[in-house]
């Protein structure tokens, strides 16, 4: 344990690991490609970044206008989305071929037909936050029902980190400011219960935390063989057949197994190999 840390050394405070705390207590073990996330849906930290409104954690839709906000903003509750803050666009193009080998074209989403996608807040607002935290910034909004309708407001972009006044001085701390997320908000958009998210194929997000391919070894034709972490009753020395992750497949752990006893069905994997099945 350290003897002292410079109060201004916020980086050291962010990296700090308290005595007795395993590495998995640290935010550097929590994934942040949140869709919706594992330990938390960190996208939620951005909902209240603009004072007066609450944004959707995942899209740029305006969810509510705060009671205490300027009444002018009330209209944003009727179906608007944020499209830019200062000169940072928060939407991006989705382009790609419609047929294999074809040219890249704009690909509207299949649900709403939007021709642009909302970029994740963390990267989209990184520059604005860094340059203007605490200041009012020009925000552009667009109606979701009529793309030609645009509104502009100057809203204050909140400080990400808590500031306190100490001995007359404004001191920045390393903790995420209270006003950004009251209790429960960082986890609110996660699956309920989390076990159902584990069951849906999340293989292509977080393999280092929720493994996909285990007991892997070189196969006889130069490619790998192994097992799916969700396969029931598997044995590292047994036949190496990977069952694709479709929850309906009876060879795979199912929802009920997880609700009832996830601790038995899910195994720790060290050096890519399953632990022995738990005793009871």
């Amino acid at each position: 344990m350290n003897e002292s840390i410079k109060a201004k050394n916020l980086t050291a405070q962010l990296q700090y690991r308290a005595a007795g705390n395993p590495p998995s207590t640290h935010p550097n073990s929590a994934i942040s490609n949140a869709f919706p996330g594992l330990e938390m849906d960190f996208r939620n930290v951005w909902r209240r970044i603009l004072e007066g409104i609450q944004l959707h954690e995942a899209t740029n839709f305006v969810m509510t206008v705060d009671d205490a906000a300027d009444p002018e903003l009330r209209i944003l509750e009727t179906g608007w989305r944020l499209i830019s803050v200062v000169d940072s666009e928060v939407m991006g193009d989705v382009t790609g071929p419609l047929i294999a080998g074809g040219p890249s074209v704009i690909l509207p989403d299949t649900t709403f037909g939007d021709t642009k996608m909302p970029l994740e807040w963390s990267n989209a607002l990184a520059e604005v936050l860094h340059n203007h935290a605490g200041q009012k910034v020009r925000c552009k909004f667009q109606s979701v029902t009529d793309a030609s309708k645009v509104l502009e407001f100057d809203l204050r972009i909140r400080h990400f980190f808590e500031h306190v006044v100490s001995r007359g001085e404004n001191v920045k701390q390393a903790v995420i400011s209270k006003e950004l997320a009251p209790p429960g908000e960082l986890t609110q958009s996660l699956c309920s219960p989390w076990q159902s998210d584990y069951r849906e194929c999340a293989c292509f997000y977080w393999a280092a935390t929720r493994p996909d391919y285990v007991n892997v070894e070189p196969g006889p034709n130069g490619t790998s063989i192994g097992q799916n972490w969700m396969q029931k009753d598997r044995n590292p020395n047994g036949p190496k057949v990977y069952l694709p992750d479709d929850w309906m497949d009876p060879g795979l752990v199912d929802y009920r197994d997880l609700y009832r006893d996830w601790e038995k069905s899910l195994r720790f994997v060290v050096e890519g190999v399953d632990e022995k099945p738990p005793e009871k």
Binding site: G96, L119, T209, G226
Partner: protein, 460 residues
């Protein structure tokens, strides 16, 4: 008379991990002993809390790192939070401990703690504030375990969900620092009773009253043909992520299930020198890390660091940044080692494959494999990452920076675009994962650094 200018709780954000064992998980280290091997788990200083005295003592070492207890139950990860203080006219934080309290003329019970956590997953969907499950300890200064009982207006009378507990550890001579421990819940599922009256075998407790609230039966608005478009936009993305059955092709009807994950705020207050000083930290509880010797590529810490320092890495590159870049490539290796990349690369409309299917379903992109199937196998991809990591080790590779996906290229679903790094993985905005801008910036800066100094100078 000594007095304080400020209090802080460190770490500012601690994560707990669910498990039903009564024995919390020991501390361990993940040691990198070889360039491309697995991290080795080794025992580390572990505190055991005595249930009678509420004090801690250090566990005898060495011990074997075990994630389960004798009964096979998973040991929860229960983090400690320490209180640190800045003395008046000092620019340093020091641990608040018995000695410092003595100098301040205070006893440990002068500290006032208060913890509030919540699980508001149901509220996020229904919009009904009465669906919020909130646990609050109220103010306490003693060292007994304080359960976090999640209360909800829409529960049956007297019912609650245990969301874990907190304990203000009693400082002693051997461990005089002021600390609090957060122990998460067991990882159980709760909900309403079944209509039939039979017990629901999935649940540890039938707590939700379906006559009071509408979490049971709730459906995300998902069909543009029948649902209100604004309601659809309000739904989470991804949507339909709650336990339930498929009401029809687009809608999932909730069974009203809740879990015992939560996140919240730990606050401490001390009156000293005529002022009331307070500090807070954040906590969250999630599932265990099931591959404890592997680390993810993009983490909450990377987000927080970017928010703290900005998207551009502007300083001089030192060995520290080189180490951080190696760490990113290593984590990429650790991810692909556990991922069936050959399978994830497949284009199929069936479940059990990766992003190619999502690209097709979400935006109608032509259904094609992401990288050429000949090179997609896990071992081939793992080989490449290993050799890249070794070459980075000798300080002479810099092309990596050129193949990274920029934050605004996430929607580029062309053949080349989809192959950028990290490949095959989904990001927070539903399309392809990009590292944080700061991570990308650091890698680019490190790439310049590599080319400017000769190989071997980096290695002592």
């Amino acid at each position: 008379m000594t007095t304080l200018a400020e209090l802080r709780i460190l770490p500012p954000f601690a994560i707990a991990r669910l498990g039903s064992s009564a024995e919390p998980m020991d501390n361990y280290e993940m040691n990198l002993t070889t360039p491309i091997g697995w991290r080795q788990l080794a025992d580390a200083t572990t505190f055991v809390v005595d249930p009678q005295s509420c004090e801690i003592h250090a566990k005898k070492r060495p011990f074997v790192v075990k994630f389960r207890d004798e009964n096979g139950k998973i040991r929860p990860v229960a983090p400690f939070l320490e209180v640190w203080a800045r003395l008046d006219r000092s620019d340093e934080l020091v641990p608040l401990d018995l000695n410092l309290l003595l100098k301040l003329g205070k006893e440990p019970r002068a500290l006032k703690w208060s913890v509030v956590t919540g699980n508001i997953k149901a509220f996020r969907r229904t919009g009904d504030p009465a669906d919020k499950v909130i646990a609050s300890t109220g103010i306490f200064s003693d060292h007994q375990v304080k359960p976090l009982l999640g209360q909800c207006k829409n529960f049956f009378e007297q019912k609650s969900i245990p969301l874990g507990s907190v304990q203000y550890i009693k400082p002693n001579e051997e461990f005089p620092e002021v600390r609090l421990r957060f122990t998460p819940a067991a990882g159980r599922v709760y909900g309403p009773p079944l209509e039939s009256g039979k017990p629901d075998g999935n649940l540890a407790g039938e707590v939700y009253d379906p006559t009071k609230g509408h979490w049971k039966g709730y459906k995300d608005a998902a069909d543009p043909k029948t649902d209100d478009l604004l309601k659809m936009r309000r739904a989470t993305n991804p949507g339909n992520v709650y336990a339930g059955d498929d009401y029809d092709d687009s809608h999932r009807q909730s069974w009203g299930y809740l879990d015992d994950e939560c996140d919240g705020i730990v606050e401490v207050e001390l009156e000293v020198g005529g002022s009331r000083l307070s500090a807070f930290a954040r906590i969250a509880a999630g599932p265990p890390t099931f591959a404890p010797d592997s680390m993810p590529m993009r983490t909450v810490h990377d987000e927080i660091e970017q928010a703290m320092l900005g998207p551009n890495f502007d300083s001089d590159v030192t060995e520290k940044e080189m180490d951080e870049v190696r760490e990113i490539v290593r984590r990429a290796l650790e991810t692909v080692r556990l991922m069936n990349t050959g399978q994830m690369n497949k284009p199929s409309k069936q479940r059990g494959v990766g992003m190619a299917r999502m690209d097709f379903l979400d935006v109608n992109r032509a259904l094609e494999p992401i990288v050429d199937p000949a090179v997609a196998d896990s071992l081939a991809i793992r080989s490449r990452h290993e050799r890249l990591l070794i070459a980075l080790d000798s300080g002479s590779l810099a092309w990596f920076a050129r193949v990274l996906r920029e934050h605004d290229q996430v929607g580029d679903l062309s053949t080349d675009g989809r192959r950028r790094m990290p490949a095959l993985m989904r990001g927070a905005d539903a399309r392809y994962l990009a590292l944080t801008r700061r991570q990308v910036s650091k890698i680019k800066a490190a790439a310049e650094f590599i080319l400017r100094t000769p190989a071997g100078e980096n290695e002592k």
